[in-house]
Subunit: 446 residues, 2 copies
């Protein structure tokens, strides 16, 4: 991760056009009227959490820093923007390098309404054109991680496999796998996530493989299981619900022996079936064979299976769609210009002007008490001795990603530790308020 | 578009790992037990439409055909799959080319529950490994196009701009722009969609640009407007709701003159504001200045503004999240093996075995009467003379994309024509049943 933004230009991989046109027309107007080089602070925050959610999880930061390094305008990109921009602006973009500073909440950390998740500082010109890329990545990845964390909590330590790639955009799927792993999932079905982000990959089998072994004489589930076990070993997981589940389990153990790794159930009343299948497996001596369940699972269905003998959950659609909240609702707002706090004033969209910092205050027991947001230029209103820690860490300094930017494994550990520090109401799946109160302290805009 | 799949290999752009691991472990088992080369038909269909929706729109076909051409395993991809696959399977993948046939519903056409949207035929080995890629693309793009088509209907011919890039994954945003344009949107804010898919791009301005012009003396909206008009001309659209809308409109016309192209309102009660602003603009002589509204618009909000003097809608979040249905729920199922119809039998997931074709029957007035699905080997149950047309068109033959594969503009025309052929209930936004009955005709699985 620690690389110099100006060193890298992977031809063909530019992220510069993953941008809304208005960012560049604003740039053009600002270059023309001389306002482009005013010093600005932009902040990312969410006005609210998705309906009924008690916390959000920051995700996508590492992907964002990588994408930022590829935010360059080469000839192919310049040819597009030259359709609607003046020459001065095009030339400015040709030499574009972000040279400012970025601070952010740790990836894997919580956020709440108003949390200043990311602070981007530099000239208006260099900061404004990053809006779309920043929000696309953080809104998507945070939505997935926020949903995934609830699922991980609900699963109570049981193994979780992300298998939603078929239900979302092919590249969003890769980011969703990564976000799920960040949130505590154990593995993904997505091979590009394994390659790109080193997420452990896993997989079972689909109904097609069993159906493939149909002959003129009819279905032959045993042949399918023999084929799978011969190729992949007895530790494999056999899908037992293509025809009749009781027959499927019987056939699976007959073929693989009691050392069979697992069986997967993908349909039906999973609680009832899990109990029946566990009993049947135990009766057959397959006491260590694991039960994997899948099929329209969300955090509520996962929680409902808590008392059942389920060893592992495969989660697809609800994970990659953020379980009802597919986007995190984060915005990127200009909050300060040459030291002057600025904010919009129209209905329902008022933002709090001025560059901000944030503290989280934790009891000696480790439980979070509150989040305190305060003007960046003021002293911290709560001391470290009183349990406060700064939430914004340096990510980019003078255009360079800092050496200490966290890895995915480190971010995963941040969230894992965080989940035991939430007030207990915070982990409830039911609809509720933000788990942690956010307080604004000091400053003219209090 | 018409290219030979085997001719293209853009290094670094392989789509082969956008795949679930189980597709490849099934391949491995099938290669080992000899079932890999049985002739198979897979079909894509949706068991149901999203809750309350009356039709779905097929989208993503052209993207899928492009991605299929890049579905190759080079050394980087092989290195990943070699972690869990045997040498035979790895070698087979090294030489992988899809050599089979694909038929599909036209991109831009409707689909209903059970419609056989895509038919993929070849050996099990070559077909099964395409499942993830096919479903990722069709599920995402169809979800967006289906939502977008409802918005276009609701807008009743007014201009629609897609501006949701900041609310979804950065690459999903590009596909969403394309799907929205397919569905009848006029333009997108997304520049990569302009580059990659030739979607017309557009943009206005953000509150940041107005806030940027704040000085020690306070806000200076007029300076911001002057800057924008100087750089972009009087045909530009000025964002008038940063402070006070009435003042904003007054200032906008004072700066740009009555020839001002447009004003954008992004907050507040848009209906009330649109009326007030129209009156104010007319009073100022700016009778041709357009009113653009944006801010949490979905198809219902768009419809609610039908009687108001709105000229153009900017739609973001609800578009890129499929307006409550972010994935289309399509599945890819093995339906036939060496001429034998196959289907899963477990609870709630029964599929209808056997390769299928589909007809749409249209009255002489042009209104759709029904969709008829029938066994691929049987004669069409309704004749062309009786208003039936075949819905599946050839897309790939012996691994080659056919010469006549439709362009985005052609697909856009398909949907535009389709929207006037739906039974009138079909265009209602309220929750309802599928607009067109789907009938299965003939075959052992009727």
């Amino acid at each position: 991760m620690p690389t110099q933004i100006s060193d890298i230009r992977d031809a063909g991989a530019s992220t510069a056009l993953l941008t809304d046109q208005y960012e560049l027309t604003m740039l053009s107007a600002a270059l023309a009227d001389g306002s482009a080089f005013r010093n600005c602070s932009f902040e990312v925050f969410a006005r609210r959490l998705p309906d009924g959610r008690r916390y959000g999880v920051v995700a996508g930061t590492e992907r964002l820093l990588d994408a930022l390094e590829q935010f360059r305008f080469g000839e192919p990109e310049l040819a597009i923007v030259a359709r609607f921009l003046d020459d001065t602006t095009v030339e400015w973009l040709r030499n574009y390098r972000f040279t400012g500073d970025i601070d952010g909440y740790r990836e894997g950390d919580f956020y709440f309404p108003g949390s200043p998740i990311l602070s981007v500082r530099g000239t208006f010109a260099e900061c404004v054109i990053l809006e779309t890329l920043i929000l696309s990545i953080l809104n998507h990845d945070s939505a997935i991680a926020s949903a995934a964390a609830r699922m991980v909590s609900a699963a109570g330590g049981r193994r979780m496999i992300e298998m939603g790639s078929r239900r979302t955009h092919e590249q969003a799927a890769v980011a969703a796998s990564r976000a799920a792993y960040l949130a505590g999932f154990d593995a993904t079905s997505n091979l590009e996530a394994a390659r790109r982000h080193d997420v452990p990959s896993a997989g079972t089998s689909a109904h097609a493989f069993t159906l493939l072994h149909t002959t003129e004489d009819g279905p032959d589930e045993a042949a399918a299981f023999r084929g799978q076990v011969a190729a992949l070993g007895v530790s494999t997981t056999l899908l037992v619900d293509t025809y009749d589940i009781t027959e499927g389990v019987k056939t699976a153990v007959a073929v693989a022996g009691p050392e069979l790794g697992g069986v997967r159930i993908d349909s039906g009343d999973l609680g009832v079936l899990a109990r029946q299948v566990r009993q049947q497996l135990d009766d057959l001596g397959a006491t260590k064979t694991r039960i994997v369940v899948s099929g329209d699972l969300d955090e509520y269905a996962i929680a409902a299976l808590r008392a059942e003998p389920v060893d592992s959950y495969g989660v697809g659609t609800s994970l990659v769609t953020g379980s009802g909240a597919p986007t995190a609702g984060m915005v990127y707002k200009l909050v300060e210009v040459d030291g002057i706090a600025v904010e919009k004033r129209s209905t329902n969209k008022a933002s709090r002007g001025g560059a901000k910092k944030a503290l989280r205050v934790v009891r000696p027991t480790g439980t979070i008490v509150e989040e305190v947001i305060y003007p960046a230029g003021s002293p911290a209103p709560v001391s470290e001795a009183d349990g406060a820690t700064e939430l914004l860490i340096p990510l980019v300094r003078e255009g360079k990603v800092v050496e200490s930017a966290p890895t995915l494994e480190e971010s995963r550990a941040v969230l894992k530790a965080g989940l035991v520090s939430l007030p207990w109401e915070g982990l409830k799946l039911s609809r509720g308020d933000s788990a942690v109160p956010v307080r604004f302290s000091g400053g003219e805009h209090q």
